[in-house]
């Protein structure tokens, strides 16, 4: 039967395409795109820090920046850990919004230390199918420190999904934090989300 033969072949083709796509995730995102994302994000961070705006204004701008350069849905779901599997879509999106604000407050305040710092991309490497962009921040008269960006386009756009700052894994730290917050509220994601809105 030629028709079924054709559809079988098509299925096979579609299947192998899907397999290739999942086996080579980094292929979709080029090295240049990953680097471009980090370059743009760092330039924007620096312009916010050096703008001299009020702290509240800077934090609002960091939150917006995190939304545009980071894959907030994936980062927040990963920070939530295994309980994310049992959460509804509504719970996940409320949590993602609260998490975004909390991250901007917590880390945005610390960024003030980097006023006038020089940021440079040093190189890229592939880690488990993703791009890791290695950058350094240098404050005048001090030893440079390293920030590694993990970048993916699984969201449909090039976005970073984790930062490693001098060896400290940001997502690991936030998994620990969110895990504790959730545990203290008996696993109640809604209550934890509400409390997160005023944390950080």
């Amino acid at each position: 039967m030629p028709i079924s033969d054709l559809s079988r072949r098509r299925l096979l083709l579609a299947g192998s395409c899907a397999l290739m796509a999942s086996a080579l995730p980094a292929q979709a995102l080029t090295q240049a795109q990953a680097r471009q994302l980090v370059d743009a994000a760092m330039a924007e961070v620096q312009s916010i820090i050096d703008s001299g705006a009020s702290e509240a204004r800077m934090i609002a701008r960091f939150e917006d920046l995190f939304d545009r350069y980071g894959d907030v849905p994936a980062i927040s779901r990963s920070a939530l850990g295994p309980p994310a599997r049992g959460a509804s879509a509504g719970q996940l999106s409320s949590f993602a919004a609260a998490f975004r604000g909390y991250m901007a407050r917590k880390y945005g305040r610390q960024f003030r230390r980097f006023a006038g710092a020089a940021a440079d991309v040093q190189g890229l490497r592939e880690v488990q199918g993703y791009w890791e962009v290695i950058s350094t921040m240098t404050l005048r008269g001090e030893a440079p420190f390293e920030v590694r960006w993990h970048v993916s386009d699984r969201s449909g756009q090039p976005r970073f999904f984790n930062l490693i700052i001098e060896g400290v894994n940001l997502l690991a730290a936030e998994r620990q934090e969110i895990g504790t917050l959730l545990e203290r509220r008996g696993g109640d994601i809604d209550r934890m989300t509400q409390d997160l809105q005023s944390a950080g």
Binding site: R112, G141, E166, G167, N169
Partner: protein
């Protein structure tokens, strides 16, 4: 005899623990005792901070404090001879050279370490200790420990601190009175460093839901990073689960 002590201790330790790969979150069987010590250290830090800065609720950006920086510089400079000894024990002549040059510049042009002209020249020095030397010799980190005053550590790094006291060249170069002065200055330098990083400590440890767990995570990750231990297990793939 004094010189032989660290060697003996090290041999005993090397025999005791052949390095297994470190667990991602570290091994912490003494958690209850560690938590108690951690709480005690935090109370001490907060007393020190409130004594120094009466109004810490200000939202001003942290400004460089020249006096604090000078105290921290002096303490750092006094620790450099010990770093050079460890560089040599680690068979890293390039690090030993950089640290020696830094010590020579900052002790002279930098007025005994008060200023850091070497850093301005790009010679930031290579911080190291006997804990790192033990790591280079193949000793595993052991269990996580919280030390009085000094904070997070591991069995290997705590032993390293003891050995560092014994092999510090300043012990042989200074008179007993000078040694006491050097110890006081290094203590002050340590406190100044803690104060300089107080905003980071607040945001990433003290203000979190479980400061103990965050401090443990931050210490082990930064320590392993400094030692060059590739933490492949620490790669998190947020897309793997769905």
């Amino acid at each position: 005899m004094i010189r032989a002590t660290p060697l003996l201790l090290t041999c005993a330790l090397l025999a005791a623990c052949a390095a297994p790969p470190p667990a991602p979150m570290g091994s912490d069987p003494h958690e209850a005792a560690n938590r108690a010590q951690f709480e005690a250290n935090l109370r001490l830090v907060s007393r020190f901070q409130s004594a120094e800065e009466p109004d810490q609720a200000t939202s001003e950006p942290p400004r460089a404090n020249p006096l604090r920086r000078a105290v921290s510089n002096i303490g750092e400079n006094l620790g450099t001879p010990r770093r050079v000894v460890n560089d040599l024990l680690q068979l890293r002549p390039d690090h030993a050279f950089e640290n020696t040059l830094r010590f020579a510049i900052n002790s002279t042009v930098g007025l005994g370490g008060l200023f850091d002209p070497a850093g301005a020249l790009g010679l930031h020095g290579r911080d190291t200790d006997f804990g790192e030397t033990l790591h280079r010799w193949g000793v595993g980190e052991g269990d996580y420990l919280v030390l009085p005053l000094l904070g997070p550590s591991t069995e290997r790094d705590a032993l390293g601190r003891v050995v560092d006291l014994a092999l510090d060249p300043l012990r042989f170069a200074l008179t007993p009175d000078e040694q006491i002065a050097a110890t006081v200055l290094r203590g002050a330098g340590y406190l100044a460093q803690v104060a300089e990083a107080s905003d980071l400590l607040d945001a990433n440890v003290i203000d979190t839901a479980d400061p103990y767990a965050q401090a443990r995570l931050l210490y082990l990750q930064t320590r392993r990073y400094h030692l060059g231990i590739a933490d492949a297990e620490e790669f998190i793939d947020p897309y793997a689960d769905f």
